[in-house]
């Protein structure tokens, strides 16, 4: 009984962290058809922003949930103005340029923070369920992810900006014809996407020690989750995070964490081979 | 009695709830020139894509020279000796006219024969002056002509053309008509087209598509004067 509860929590946590890791990339890809390979480094910077802010005496939750997203969002805005906007419509070129940017950010972070692991302790204590110890912070991550999905849904469904965003997702030329400047929409989208990456990096930072190269651990998973999810933003994100999260946890429990990771990757290869358009390209056409 | 080169039995293609091609039975004899016409959305292009292997039909069969080719890949169908031209010019932009045509010839001939065949076609289509120019730098009409050259150089016995006259000038269309007539000497030709003027100048038998199905199949003059066809074209439901 206790064991099954622990397993349930672990499963939820695996799915939630995948959602969190991929959300920023999904927004940018879904809206702009741009793959931001510097996404992992945006997360890394979110982590460093949190640690720096906490070091300056800011409350840890404020640092994670407010400061990190804003700082990273602004960095994203600068990146969009300087680099990305020159490359719209050139999918592969944007991938290459953002890959270059990711290396630049790793370099800068190394010069500022050094090539050593820094970290902050988890602000929520663990507790015991029967014989098992549960990390209380995992709950926090599950809650944040659920809140994030609900918030994204609410913004896309309920606000004017969301309506324009959904329009742009389906037909960017039509949105432009209706008088909405794609330039501004893309700018805002990239800001939001980067802020989400910053948030994810900040929230996950207490769980993993932070090094300038930690972004690399995220980007591949985020990339796979988003591409496998397919064209629909929220449905794609949730469905592919759920499938990959479950697969990796099942194998982690059954064999080992490494095999869990490998299983996730193999699942991704099989999934893309079967459904080259992603899960939502096949099953949820035209939803968001 | 000439051999049947292309035949479909109950060809049906559905996209979700839409039936784009509905139980089409079609027959083409060797050496015949046939135009497929119909208003937008009549199912001509879907039919074309099913026949060329770009789509696999939901139901029904496609036969070429008696062989069942349903569900074959385009390259397998082309390997039989079927020349295909899609709606938008499909050419290799960074390669020269000669290289484009040579690549098509190389599929069925060895290197030096392919050169000979390519030169011959370039002469026949009067592409000589631009033979070394990259396709990306050519005008639309010239690109269409090169693509016909790509089709012709392979000596096909069946040629399938999707809107070959689209977006071309009157002079280009005349030249195109000439080339197509030349093709019919050795091959059966199917042309999907919307341009009535062009059809009148080239066709004998036309097949009219309407709502995915064959509406009528007859000589071009009789089809043009058919009140039903006129109604379909003018958008009235009779």
């Amino acid at each position: 009984m206790d064991l099954s509860f622990v397993i349930l929590i672990e499963m939820l946590y695996a799915v939630a962290s995948l959602v969190l890791i991929s959300a920023g990339l999904a927004v940018v890809f879904g809206m702009m058809k741009v793959i931001n390979l510097a996404h992992g480094e945006f997360m890394m910077m979110g982590g460093y922003a949190t640690i720096t802010a906490v070091g300056l005496g800011v409350n840890v939750f404020v640092a994670m949930l407010v400061i990190a997203p804003i700082v990273v969002g602004l960095i994203g805005l600068i990146v969009e103005r300087l680099v990305i906007r020159h490359l719209y419509g050139r999918l592969v070129d944007t991938m290459l340029a953002t890959w270059g940017l990711s290396l630049v950010f790793i370099g800068i972070a190394t010069m500022i923070f050094g090539n050593t692991t820094t970290g902050i302790s988890t602000p929520i204590p663990g507790f015991a369920v029967g014989d098992y110890q549960i990390n209380g912070y995992n709950f926090f991550i599950i809650v944040v992810s659920i809140a994030l999905v609900i918030a994204m849904f609410a913004v896309l469904r309920g606000t004017r900006a969301g309506l324009i965003a959904r329009g742009t997702m389906q037909r960017s030329d039509m949105a432009a014809a209706l008088g909405y400047s794609p330039d501004r929409i893309y700018m805002m989208t990239f800001f939001c996407g980067s802020a989400l990456s910053g948030l994810a990096g900040a929230v996950l930072a207490p769980l993993v020690g932070l090094v300038p190269t930690s972004g690399g651990a995220y980007i591949a998973k985020a990339f796979i989750t988003v591409i496998a999810g397919g064209p629909s933003l929220i449905a794609g994100l949730v469905s592919s995070a759920t499938s990959f999260g479950l697969v990796s946890q099942i194998f982690t429990f059954a064999i080992s964490p490494v095999i869990g990771e490998v299983a996730l990757l193999i699942a991704a290869v099989i999934l893309l081979r079967m459904m080259p358009q992603g899960i939502t390209g096949r099953f949820f056409k035209g939803k968001m | 009695m000439a051999e049947t080169v292309l035949e479909t039995h109950g060809l049906t293609m559905r996209f979700g709830g839409v039936t784009a091609s509905d139980n089409v039975n079609f027959k083409l004899k060797a050496g015949e020139l046939r135009c497929l016409i119909g208003p937008n959305g009549a199912g001509k292009s879907t039919f074309f894509k099913c026949v060329t292997g770009l789509l696999t039909p939901t139901e029904g069969h496609v036969y070429m020279r008696g062989q069942d080719v349903t569900g074959w890949q385009p390259h397998q169908i082309a390997s039989l000796g079927v020349g295909i031209k899609t709606q938008t010019p499909n050419v290799m932009d960074a390669l020269s006219v000669h290289e484009n045509i040579w690549l098509a010839a190389r599929r069925f001939h060895n290197v030096s024969e392919a050169h000979g065949r390519a030169d011959e076609i370039i002469d026949r289509l009067a592409l000589g002056p631009i033979a070394r120019t990259e396709l990306g730098q050519l005008a639309h009409g010239e690109r269409q002509r090169v693509e016909l050259g790509i089709v012709a150089v392979a000596d096909p016995w069946l040629v399938l053309l999707d809107e070959p006259a689209a977006g071309m000038s009157a002079q280009d269309v005349d030249r195109m008509t000439e080339i197509i007539h030349e093709l019919t000497r050795s091959a059966a030709v199917v042309i999907v087209e919307h341009d009535m003027q062009f059809i009148r100048s080239i066709a004998e038998t036309v097949t009219v598509f309407h709502q995915g199905a064959v509406l009528i199949e007859d000589h071009v003059d009789r089809v043009m004067s058919d009140p039903h066809v006129r109604a379909v074209y003018l958008g009235k439901n009779s």
Partner: protein, 341 residues
């Protein structure tokens, strides 16, 4: 092709002979050897990406696979000739299977990128986790993140005690690169190569002409992997140790950067890009003012933004405009299209 085949071969031989003679006077052969090996690795991606339009994010996988195959086989066999052959064959076979799966599934662009990247990660994660004593192939322990040291290095075929190392090893690598370069030249001049370029330009058209596009892409992909595998085996001999880092994404990224900087759609570009950037990195490694990664990243961003065709085509067009010859105008759209597979 402006020049005839024999002229091309002659020029290649003369230029490379001069370089092999002059370069050791300027740079130590130890460093040169690795530059040559990276040049070969760059060429392997330059072939499939620049001429076949296949953007592989995991060329490092084949490099690593070649290196590991060599190391494992060398430990088990105790000489180097068969391991060298295996180091070319294993990546080629692996690429054939992977390529067939991808190309018959009609995956392109991003999806191709994801799958090649994921496969590289799988290999990296797997090899990294094989530290335990239970992971053994024959007599060779995989060693996880520590890698495999202490295998038999290159020897004269038939005589396991006659090691080839130091200067002679450099000459072996340099000659290997020249041979591979000539083979690639021959391949691109052949019908197969020209058909590959046709497929890069327009897959649908080539299919409608009757070419089996998937099969041809698979073969080209395997050829690229074989070259990368050879480079990997030579690298293993140079470093005398193989580690999981050979499979890392960073390594894959670097190969892509070499191709972009050197110039896609040329044979020389990726080699020049690889050797040049690797040497730059080596020089930068001797200072600690600016971080190395930062400069690599900056170079990539600046090239994508301002010189997307790469150095070699740019220099070639400058030269031809100086000498007033306009026989082959390099076309900006060519590299763009090539990249989009």
């Amino acid at each position: 092709m402006g020049r005839s085949a024999s002229q091309d071969v002659l020029i290649t031989l003369v230029v490379s002979a001069v370089l092999i003679w002059v370069m050791p006077l300027l740079i130590s052969t130890y460093t040169l050897t690795v530059l040559v090996i990276y040049g070969m690795l760059g060429l392997s991606l330059g072939l499939i990406w620049g001429f076949g339009g296949i953007l592989c994010f995991g060329q490092a996988a084949f490099f690593g696979l070649g290196a590991y195959t060599y190391a494992i086989a060398a430990i088990n066999i105790g000489e180097s000739t068969v391991p060298m052959i295996l180091a070319v064959l294993v990546p080629a076979v692996f690429a054939t299977l992977l390529g067939a799966m991808m190309f018959y599934g009609r995956l392109t662009d991003v999806y191709l990128g994801v799958i090649t990247l994921v496969v590289t990660l799988i290999l990296f994660k797997f090899v990294n986790s094989t530290a335990g004593p239970q992971y053994v192939i024959g007599k060779a322990r995989l060693g996880g993140f520590n890698g495999i040291p202490g295998f038999q290095t290159l020897n004269v075929p038939g005589d396991p005690d006659a090691y080839v190392w130091g200067d002679p090893f450099f000459y072996v690598c340099a000659v290997a690169l020249v041979i591979v370069f000539l083979l690639v030249t021959w391949l691109l001049r052949s019908s197969f190569g020209r058909i590959a370029v046709g497929i890069r330009e327009n897959e649908v058209r080539m299919g409608l002409m009757g070419y089996d596009v998937a099969a041809r892409k698979t073969v080209l992909f395997a050829v690229g992997a074989a070259i990368a595998g050879l480079a990997g085996a030579l690298f293993a001999n140079w470093g005398e140790i193989v580690t999981p880092n050979l499979f890392s994404l960073g390594q894959s990224a670097e190969i892509i950067i070499w191709c972009i900087v050197g110039g896609l759609g040329t044979r020389l570009g990726p080699i020049v890009g690889a050797a040049g950037l690797a040497y730059l990195k080596f020089m930068l490694g001797q200072q600690s003012m600016v971080d190395n990664t930062l400069i690599t990243g900056l170079i990539l961003v600046l090239f994508v933004l301002f010189l997307p065709r790469g150095l070699v085509p740019a220099i070639a067009s400058v030269l031809s405009s100086i000498f007033g010859r306009t026989k082959r105008r390099p076309n900006a759209s060519r590299t763009r299209r090539a990249r989009h597979g």
